[in-house]
Subunit: 281 residues, 6 copies
């Protein structure tokens, strides 16, 4: 679930962006009394995401509009299927349309891409697909929710929610052990500790330091296999960086636990959804 | 140029999103006194965009950081080239890195895609590529700037900056003429009037009503040619909807004035830029 | 229509300004259970404007208050007529009264002044009266709406909604033609281009450059007539600067299309409206 | 002095309002490298107010601009005199001009009007002119400051800064004594208590209840004289409502201590100030 | 009463702080359809405060939750008593619980401490206990309301609501008389004037200058008695600084009018309240 | 480190709260040109915390003020020692004083209390003291930083930064195993999983489910000992609820890993710090 004040803050910014100076066209042409019904229709196969946000955009512009959900969050719909239906003042529907769709298309686009990655995991494999912090500024909560809606999982929400010792931290600390030691001395017991390693030697150091998760950076497939074997029962193995859809089956086969995929959020194309309005009465 | 309060509002939201609870890793490992230099390096061929925003993220987190521009906004850089250099407290650089890159990668991604569309216009053709209002909620100003930086142009900024009579408006008004008449009676002399038309008959109506711009919706190529001929000297001709990179040369050849491309902003993949940190002293 | 997040943001600021530290008088004297009915009464002849905002102030302070509209937006009322009626907790009505009236009196004041300008246009003349960007910081949308409610029209909403080449731009560009050329090369096809001209020679340059609108700056009446004749069928003619109520008939007679009047928003006196409370039950 | 976060919040809203979508004209025409100097010049006799805000608008848009004050806050300047000088990037000056002037013209307009009221007080009279809470929503601090700058004083800042028992409170409480008693029982010792009275009988009640200030509502001149005599040494006498410039001398002569004038803030015409830009280098 | 926009702003910040990244535990475990009822139960003897805020936190997160008040604001409850009951989606209740309690526990803690101070005033004594400006940044309105709810009163709300000439002002002005004179020349007639005095000589100066309130700073008991006698009928006597619960009876006996106690807000321990959830249906 | 936009948002709210209507006393008495130096002096033994925030309050009100740190964050100072020194316009110092101290006194109060808890851990014991989410709404980041500054550690920052299965979750899920299973199926690999247990049987269930941390709720000392033994090498043992300073040594001796103490943030008395101003020049 998205938290209401988080949704509302983003919606208000978006509505001011598009409607701060009004909707000159609709105001000139469409009388307030005219009522309409509008259907949000999938123009491609997609995973539905963002119904709450879509509805709240309309509600926020005109609290008398009513939105009905026809397709469940996370469900797959095919071209032509109706996702949501809006009813009320036609002018309000027209003015809010683009803002509502901008949210829904992005969220459904991410959910749809996430679902493709999840679907690429071979039957029976335990590989988990997760997102990264490479999200759109201001929309992280929305995009992480979309990733979950698509069936993948989330990595840490922010820099305070997990310790992740990256190559730069290792270099500045003077090695994996020193870095993890510094972390143990100061960080919360509430946090997992993940260590990015660039070689099997560093992996061993990270395991010895009892990292909860190890992130393999640019390992050759044969080294991934070795790493997985060594980490077995000691730490979760994550592969990050350059993980394309095509590489998913191999990484699953190698026994990797988690792959993190920045593209889920930073490069997902918008899902194609259009709003078809009809006059009522 | 982006307006400072617009930049700052978005940056503050983004920094709170990622750093509201601090950076537990960096705080545990990297002493405040340690200084570093970091280079933002292109990992692909891209059009540089967002240098001001990139710099301001670092500045906003730690006003003592210094950012130097190595590549001009709108210039093309190749893999390995340095875009920007940050110098100062290593801890601050590490904490702000992801937020700064999230802005810059999105902006450069859009600029790069826009440049591809512009490059697809045949030499000598007068076709202009423009964006749409299908932008990321909260980031419209950033994305429109990125489109311009890539060499394309902007469509209207928001619903108050131009009259655009769409099919739904036409339907609700009872025809193109009635719609435009309503607009003339109420809208500002400061605004252009664009009319979306779905047939040559509607085109004629729009031209008769002295629309400044006509938007051809789903016209077959032969009809586009007719439309261009009829509108010549009377209105700007815009084609919108489903305009792929591949269709650009043909549309240019047909004499279309403007194509509007939602994908420029709603589906541009992030440009690959990484930050390489080195310890100083 | 005003956009709800725009209204709410301004109302919240205003309520915090007046009620951030509570209403010590009402809290001490008026029990929460006491109910009242209050009538907003015109104390002068005025054009009604701001009913939505007036109602929303009360709603925002106490969602159980009910507001009924007695006079339509844009209608003329005479002294003693009731505009709106509020009913509910007397304490809430008293606490919100001043904030609600501050909005409504300003908005009705502007609408009333706009109506005076519009009424000054002689029967049959085509002169349009419009506002300017000389609005109260933070209240532009409210004031532009009030101008429309009074029967006048709006000029551009902001610096992104139209190209307006002013004398300073001309000077910096090295002439009208150079300025317009620069604009054509970069600005959106969605935007009208207006050029401020200070002489008939500049007017000719602007018309040759196909400006959509020309703004005559400080032209003598005889030159206005010449300008109107030259611009006929080529560009809209706007007169700006020092346009008093008294000059309206002459400018209309000269065939000017548009006059823009800063005073509509920057110097409209507040309309006199008072709230008369009566105890219920 | 205005408090910086109060100034900045209003400025940011105002700049977003005008520049949220950029300044298309200036961006197209004026190169960033071009420098200019601009003089804010009085076009009428006025009392200077708002120099800090004027300067901060430019600073907020472009921190490299420099603003110099030529006329002191509160000083009287005549047409043609220079108030402030801005120097730096011409494009930034042009883009911020209107926002800066919108603040300064309103503030100077109020200061100028306040000064007229103060000047109307006969030499030697002790009458103080004060404002009311009839201020522009969102700009109360700016307008109260302008009133002081013009030489008048402020009434209470908000509903929490003084007890003011108005006619409605009296009616709901069942009389002046009951109302003041309720207030004494609950309100802070830090607050003055003012009572609005509509008759000499109520005045006596208010004085008996030891009101700090009594506000005479609609008293005939002869009753004002009686009221002043009775209140002498016991309470400050304030006259409010319908106080025009013309009535000031008489009210002063009658010995009234304070007049509160809503028009100072709700109906002050903007002062005429223009910005004259010159190219540098 | 607290003003709604003040409440909502604080609640939204608090909910984003705790729930900006969602509630991973509840989301994983508790189905949205599961309903619950939760009772806020006192775990200590306390004065109830914050029911409106408690309710609004739940409402703001999930508008379908219903909150019922069982104990009146300002009433004393004993351990085990139910203050408020929340009913609706169990997941929403769990997610909002901590935020709602954080407000209510602080507010009730302050009300409870204020009540202890008030109870320490001997029967029949006229001593008033008030708070100070030593409040939690961002929560002043909440804490002042809690002080009133506990039966004490408020000092000035902010630096604009009363003149309080402190020792530093006296020193910079060159004496009490000079300071008060400066104030009389500039400050509003709407404001009381309080003067902090450090000796009987300064007290006399303040009384001569007709201060409304005198604040005795670090006076020995015998000097307090003298001060009270001298100020009788001329000014309110306030004692501030180091006023512990134990000193209340003596200060009351000495005839002091007001004691201001910073500890009421800056050091009140949270009241112990817990939320007990039960599954419904 | 605190994140700048987090600090600034809280400071701006606090300054508006106290100074939204100006500082009437200082403005009337203290000329802008008068300069001063002010020393923040400890009036009790305390652990210094909040120097950055203290400095930024002054900077935000008047950027020309200079603040010097005399005592390091986290250091212990005794009564009379100087923590920080502010220099510049005396009027600005006086106006910002209370806001700056309100932050610093709260932060130092928490750091001082945290240090007392940490000091109560017997030499050689491995017990870690941590805070809870029982923080002041809006100030969580400040208070968590203060806890760290006092030498204790933080628990999870918010509901998205760790899985914590509480008694209510267990009850709704139908047992510890079911709850943890649900979590494993949906929550991120980046998050630790903590389970609150109310009996040794539940403890065993939690350990079997491989909880990372177990929280013992209301265990008798002898059961704590058993729990510690069983969890050894399998999970971190945390004790929460009713952990007073007096119980720390015993809990340490029993081998508990972590105690979480709500009082650190919800009931820490403010540290006594005062600002002593002296005129310069």
């Amino acid at each position: 679930m998205l938290t209401v004040p988080v949704i509302d803050a983003a919606i208000d910014v978006a509505l001011r962006e598009d409607l701060g100076a009004g909707d000159v066209t609709t105001e000139a042409i469409v009388p307030r009394s005219l009522r309409g019904i509008a259907r949000a229709v999938a123009k491609q196969s997609l995973v539905v995401c963002g119904g709450d946000v879509f509805a709240r955009v309309f509600y926020r512009l005109d609290a008398s509009l009513r939105v009905e959900r026809r397709a469940a969050e996370g469900s797959r719909v095919e071209p032509g299927e109706v996702l949501w239906i809006v009813e009320g003042a036609a002018a309000s529907i027209l003015s809010a349309e683009r803002t509502a769709l901008n949210f829904a298309q992005r969220m459904s686009g991410i959910a749809t891409l996430a679902a493709r990655y999840v679907a690429a995991v071979p039957e029976g494999a335990a590989l988990t697909v997760v997102d990264t912090r490479k999200t759109t500024p201001g929309l992280r909560a929305f995009e992480r929710y979309a990733v979950r809606t698509g069936g993948a999982k989330n990595h840490r929400s922010d820099l305070g929610a997990m310790v992740l010792v990256k190559d730069n931290h290792v270099a500045l600390a003077g090695g994996v052990s020193a870095a993890v030691e510094a972390v143990r001395a100061r960080a919360s017991h509430a946090l997992r500790v993940e260590v990015e390693v660039t070689s099997l030697a560093e992996l061993d150091e990270a395991l010895a330091a009892r990292a909860d998760v190890v992130m393999l950076d640019n390992f050759r497939p044969e080294d991934v296999a070795v790493a997985v074997a060594r980490a077995k029962g000691r730490a979760v193995v994550e592969v990050s960086g350059g993980v394309t859809l095509e590489r998913i089956p191999e990484l699953a086969r190698l026994g990797v636990d988690v792959v993190s995929v920045g593209a889920l959020t930073h490069s997902a194309p918008a899902a194609d959804i259009s709003l078809e309005l009809e006059r009522l009465g």
